[in-house]
């Protein structure tokens, strides 16, 4: 893509998962990378109860001009989920044929583990029905990078293959947002995620 093309592009990314999975940090980095790449950007999140194991959502939109901070349902160009059931919950955010990048792991809601409500059935098959599905084993890659907690950055590395930023924009954003002593392990995680996508 030439520079002129990307400047006129409008792009919507939704990130979903469970509190504590690093969703807000990830969306911060994406938004900063968008700014470095020269776009107008809005990043919107609902995080009041994020540390208490609730469902968390953050959305990043960029383009020549961004109005609504909320992405209309069915208009996300990429849906990123840090957990499989959350991918199902929010699948309707993705536009038809959009990439849906999912960390291939489960976090069972307490109400399910304690028997108060049934678990989601046939998650594999229902996810597979989405043609843009990419199931990523981010946790082993994060361990390989050196820290399981960088699984979010592995997923972001995979996402980077579908977002029109140069690698330098990602690097600049990560340097800005991640503490220096954790930067190396996160950069490794990013590369592992990026190269996991053929």
């Amino acid at each position: 893509m030439s520079t002129t093309d990307t400047r006129n592009l409008r792009f919507n990314i939704s990130l979903v998962g469970v509190g504590g999975q690093g969703i807000l940090l990830t969306s911060d980095i994406i938004a900063m990378a968008a700014m470095h790449a020269g776009y107008q950007v809005k990043k919107s999140e609902i995080h009041g109860m994020s540390q208490r194991g609730g469902s968390v959502i953050s959305q990043v939109r960029f383009g020549p001009k961004v109005h609504s901070p909320i992405i209309p349902d069915g208009q996300s160009d990429v849906l990123v989920s840090f957990e499989r059931t959350e991918a199902l919950r929010w699948a309707h955010l993705a536009r038809p044929g959009a990439k849906i990048i999912v960390n291939n792991m489960d976090r069972i809601p307490v109400s399910v583990s304690s028997g108060l409500q049934p678990a989601a059935q046939n998650v594999d098959a229902r996810l597979a029905a989405y043609p843009g599905l990419i199931l990523l084993n981010a946790n082993p890659l994060a361990r390989q990078a050196g820290n399981l907690r960088t699984a979010n950055i592995v997923v972001m590395g995979a996402l980077s293959k579908y977002v029109p930023f140069e690698e330098e924009h990602w690097q600049a954003a990560m340097q800005e947002r991640i503490p220096a002593k954790l930067l190396d392990v996160n950069l490794r995680a990013f590369t592992l995620g990026r190269t996991a996508i053929p």
């Binding site: 990043k43 919107s44 540390q51 208490r52 909320i70 699948a91 309707h92 955010l93 049934p118 989601a120």
Partner: protein, 589 residues
Amino acid sequence: MKKLLSANQAIAWAAYRGGCRVASAYPGTPSTEIMEHIAEFKGAINCEWSVNEKVAMEIAAGASLAGVRTLVAMKHVGLNVAMDPLMTFTYIGAIGGMVIVNADDPSLHSSQNEQDNRSLAKFAKCLLFEPSDSQEAYDMVLAGFELSEKYQVPVIIRTTTRTAHTSSIVDIGSGARGEAPAIPYVKNARRNVAVPANGRLMRFAVEKRSAQLRELTEASPFNRAEPGTGDIGFVASGVAYQYVKEVFPEAPVFKVGLSHPPPVEKIRAFAAGVRRLVVVEESDPVLAEQIQAAGIPVVKPQTELHMMELNPARLAQLRAELLGADAPPAPQPESDVPVRPPVLCSGCSHRGAFYILSKLKATVCGDIGCYTLGSAPPLAAMDTCVCMGASIGTAIGMRKAGHPNKRIAAVIGDSTFFHSGMTGLLDVAYNQIPITVMVFDNRITAMTGHQENPGSGKTLLGEPTANVKIADIARSFGIRRVHEVTPYDLANLEKVFQECLDCGEPAVVVVQGPCVLHVKWAGQYINTVNEDTCTACGACFRIGCPAIVRGAPKDDTGKRYKSKIDPQFCTGCNLCAQVCKFNAITPVK
């Protein structure tokens, strides 16, 4: 200088750039981060976590009277607590610029109600700004300081959860600290002492000021018509403006930024140029009613727009209605996906106490904080929750009403206790009410993200300070039965709770244990379930710990499951082992 900032961050930057000298706040989602970011300017602004919003507002009033620029921040329900000083200070009037940032929470993302505080700006006859993004929040705080000084009026900036927590690019000018010299103090009792004789004079002055503010709002650049095509014109404020621009990109729009007093004459002129005028605003029809009252016809759409957050999908529905078209098809969410409500964390110091309260069948009046999550199944250990500090008063009322359950407890956290529970406890002591007040004391304001409070021994800037003991306060009130207990010994909790609930006199139990998210555990052990010993009785599931998950099925029927402990989340708090009658849960390294 351009930065990617949330509105909360942008407001902090504007305070810094605008020469604000004194800032005060009580934490409350979605406003909390404002003061955290102001604190990052390391003493450039004298800032504090106040014990509650009323005190925070009074500090702002005092700073303004002393002639300096001041900012006070709180969530929407916080302004209820601070209304008393505001309603009279608006008579007295600001001297140093006074900006009140008030964050509404449409859709109740993390609040107990959805009140639209724009009505309170009208009630208090203040100026009211409604930013639609971070740049506007920044600009409006700067303008707010100046207008507050010029018109001697408190200025309210109404954000919402969406604007407060949306980041966008903000031009913060040079980024340097702004200077605003203090206005010399002049003692003036007639102006500053609100007694009836002075208050009557102030009352007339307020009306005169309101007339000036109506002229100001008509001339303000924050209120402007944006031309477009089509015969429907929109009036929009706050983030609703952004949704209108998204869904009706070609339509003429009147953007209201300074929304109280509303610029009705400018809107009248705008309305004359369109065939139909539609007002889009988040929450109550505050602008619509004032525009209509001015004799300007406004379309009343059938599409419901006044409850819960607006979004582009809801405006697309409005669009269909206005154009007489079918509503656009909305993508349908997958069915049968289990909900994932927030829960008390694994290792939470509140869990054991709720488990025992539930076991003792106490009637529990709850309060605002993480511990409100104790109301959810399987603990289900809460009967009521009203507002900050209400647990104690509500419990008193229940007791006075002759509630059949003699075991009535009020459950309140430390920060909420300091905020507005202390007065309730004094009422318990003064009127000798036989209830048990349980303070779940983790020495931090946990729910909003670990802000310091009078019990944590540190100020907002992390400086050491007094470390107030709740048991000492209770004793100083004259309450004789005061216990301090640890949170992870269930047998002792049961003994103490039962004794207090059945003693027939006022009692206080302080359950002391740090928040597990704040103070990392040094515990050497975590727990594991021995699958052979586990009988699948389900007792450990009833403590509602997120580390306890479904294990192997007990038999072929698939009806009962043994439990399993997720080592990633277990903190080794050992509550589950204490509820297991079969000794199937044991510690491992």
